[in-house]
């Protein structure tokens, strides 16, 4: 257990920081709220025709809600991970890198703390569910929390993997444009992928967020047909998380 103390310290420290910053906690909800209530409302009327048959009663906002939950977790997870770049040069992380602790436990700490923060932000979003027309039951919430954590874990793992290779904050815009936005739009968060062209479908299949959004949707939207069975989604997320974590740890340790 002693080898894990750096993991615990990073986790505790990141959580303390996060919960001390009330403005950030609530500020980070602004983007998802705009997406749901402005974009969701605006696109809603024209989108309803595109939704699969048998779901005509489904409001676009409701359809979109699990996708926006996925987006919240993706952004919160990657942002948390990217702080590594800064922290390694000017922050507390540098102090940890010279301490007598193994570097894998530091990378693991960063993934676990990012996943905790991102899934917390996701859970906070659930408060908005009724406004988006999603009727949550206690059973759903019980299932949603661990699912959100798993999705957050895979997203943060990817974030740490990318951040470990990043030399300066200038590279962050690249991540935003070339990884996060395509991942978000190709995950089925905003529109169903059922009628998508083949190339888009292929990209969606290799996108880890696709399975996350699909899993969240199958929990919350009972009368909407999900793309894959729930068990398959979860298996894929666990698989992706393990690979991401392994690669993130290997890359982080090599860089430092």
């Amino acid at each position: 257990m002693k080898r894990f103390r750096a993991t615990y310290i990073i986790w505790l420290r990141d959580l303390k920081r996060h919960f001390r910053d009330r403005a950030r906690i609530f500020g980070s909800l602004a983007t998802p709220i705009i997406f749901i209530f402005i974009l969701g409302q605006g696109l809603g009327s024209s989108m309803s025709a595109a939704l699969p048959a048998g779901s005509t009663t489904l409001d676009y906002k409701t359809f979109m809600f699990p996708g926006i939950l996925g987006m919240t977790v993706l952004f919160a997870g990657v942002f948390s991970a990217v702080s590594i770049v800064w922290d390694r040069e000017f922050g507390f992380l540098k102090e940890m890198l010279v301490a007598p602790v193994p570097s894998w436990s530091i990378a693991l700490g960063k993934v676990v703390s990012g996943a905790t923060i991102a899934s917390f932000q996701g859970c906070l979003m659930l408060i908005l569910a009724p406004l988006a027309g999603v009727k949550l039951t206690p059973q759903m919430v019980v299932l949603l929390i661990p699912t959100l954590f798993l999705v957050a874990f895979s997203m943060t793992g990817m974030g740490v993997l990318v951040a470990s290779r990043l030399k300066s904050m200038q590279g962050f815009q690249m991540i935003m444009n070339f990884i996060m936005m395509p991942m978000f739009f190709l995950s089925g968060a905003m529109f169903p992928l059922a009628n998508a062209p083949a190339w888009m479908d292929t990209l969606a299949k290799i996108n880890p967020l696709t399975y996350g959004v699909d899993a969240l949707r199958s929990i919350m939207l009972t009368d909407f047909p999900s793309r894959y069975p729930f068990a398959f989604d979860i298996t894929m997320i666990v698989l992706i998380s393990s690979v991401m974590l392994g690669m993130a740890i290997a890359t982080f340790s090599r860089q430092s």
């Binding site: 303390k16 920081r17 507390f92 540098k94 010279v98 030399k167 300066s168 904050m169």
Partner: protein, 353 residues
């Protein structure tokens, strides 16, 4: 200091740091080139040189942050290549750039440090009090670090570096960007440290006047140690006094000095950052400056604009050994970013003072 035993590695015999032919190359560029030296216990040892001379690279290797390309070193008897954790447990480090967590309080920063370095839970509070008391921050310990001034942050970092009672404390440019008053306070702490904690201090600086606080200094330039001695002995090497002249025609004056007084003079081109009258500076080392000067001025035909005579400083030692002056230069993107951060932090810090 019996309470120190629990997390402090035992004391080894012999020098606390022993470096043999340490070399580091980055993609064909040699940053540290076959450096050898040894440091005794309780010594204050200084690395003096311009930016990019290899100071930080050497420290990074001794702290096990970088692997040497070749050569070896031991710290407190532990090999830096094979006994990383033991080396790390034996040292405390204060980096050039602050590595405190701004959002946490001083207590929390120290507490996390103690956990990282295996300080037993029962001793954490007591040790934190002790080190905070030494650097005079005990009254502010419950405040978030972001409200501290630059000098307070640096003092807190020094305090943190002592929490696990290390054998060697590395200070990389400990007074960079601080005002003169804070600088001298930091130096008082460093001297006090040695007395109180039996500690060896290894520091780098490019401030010549500060290097005089060290017991011994290694002058490093382009990855090599060009001299290693006490500050007094190093200054003695320059021999005598330094005369600096400004003349209307530097080349003629230098020729005249050679011809009439057999003195070899160096010319430093006028640079933008030098204040005072324009014109190239002529630089001379002579045994008896004060008696030679009147004679010299009488003998010279070219017009002399200004004259100064002074005793040698470490600046002169550096100049005479390397043929250049210590000057700051920005190297790459990361350096530029660091400079910006430092400036911003310094401004923010000043606002809180």
């Amino acid at each position: 200091m019996n309470d120190a035993v629990s997390s402090r590695p035992p004391v080894s015999a012999g020098p606390v740091i022993e470096v043999k032919n340490l070399t580091k190359r980055f993609n064909g560029l040699t940053a540290v080139d076959g450096v050898s030296f040894s440091i005794n216990r309780k010594e204050i040892f200084g690395f003096l040189g311009p930016n990019g001379a290899g100071k930080t690279t050497t420290i990074s290797m001794l702290c096990t942050l970088l692997k040497p390309t070749s050569g070896s070193a031991t710290l407190n008897g532990f090999d830096i290549a094979t006994q990383q954790d033991a080396v790390r447990q034996s040292i405390g480090i204060v980096f050039q750039d602050p590595t405190l967590d701004d959002q946490l309080t001083a207590w929390e920063n120290l507490h996390f440090h103690a956990m990282l370095y295996n300080v037993p839970a029962s001793q954490r509070r007591e040790r934190a009090e002790r080190v905070l008391d030494m650097v005079g921050l005990i009254d502010r310990a419950g405040d978030r670090v972001e409200t501290y001034s630059g000098g307070m942050k640096r003092r807190l970092e020094i305090a943190r570096g002592l929490m696990h009672y290390p054998h060697v404390l590395f200070l990389d440019e400990p007074t960079l960007g601080l005002d003169p008053q804070t600088r001298s306070a930091i130096w008082d702490h460093v001297h006090e440290l040695r007395a109180q904690y039996d500690i060896t201090v290894f520091l780098t600086t490019h401030y010549m006047d500060e290097a005089e606080n060290c017991d011994r200094i290694a002058i490093i330039d382009t990855g090599k140690i060009v001299a290693l001695d006490t500050p007094g002995a190093l200054k003695h090497r320059v021999g005598g006094d330094i005369i600096t002249l400004r003349s209307a025609d530097a080349a003629t004056t230098v020729a005249e000095l050679m011809e009439k007084f057999s003195l070899e003079a160096q010319v430093q081109p006028a640079s933008a950052d030098t204040s005072g009258p324009a014109g190239d500076r002529i630089y001379l080392e002579v045994p008896e400056g004060r008696t030679l000067l009147p004679q010299m001025l009488r003998g010279l035909d070219t017009e002399i604009l200004s004259v100064t005579v002074r005793e040698p400083t470490l600046d002169d030692v550096f100049l005479s050994l390397t043929g250049k002056q210590i000057r700051e230069e920005t190297v790459d993107k990361m350096d530029a970013m660091k400079t910006r951060v430092r400036r911003r932090r310094a401004q923010r810090g000043a606002g809180h003072r």
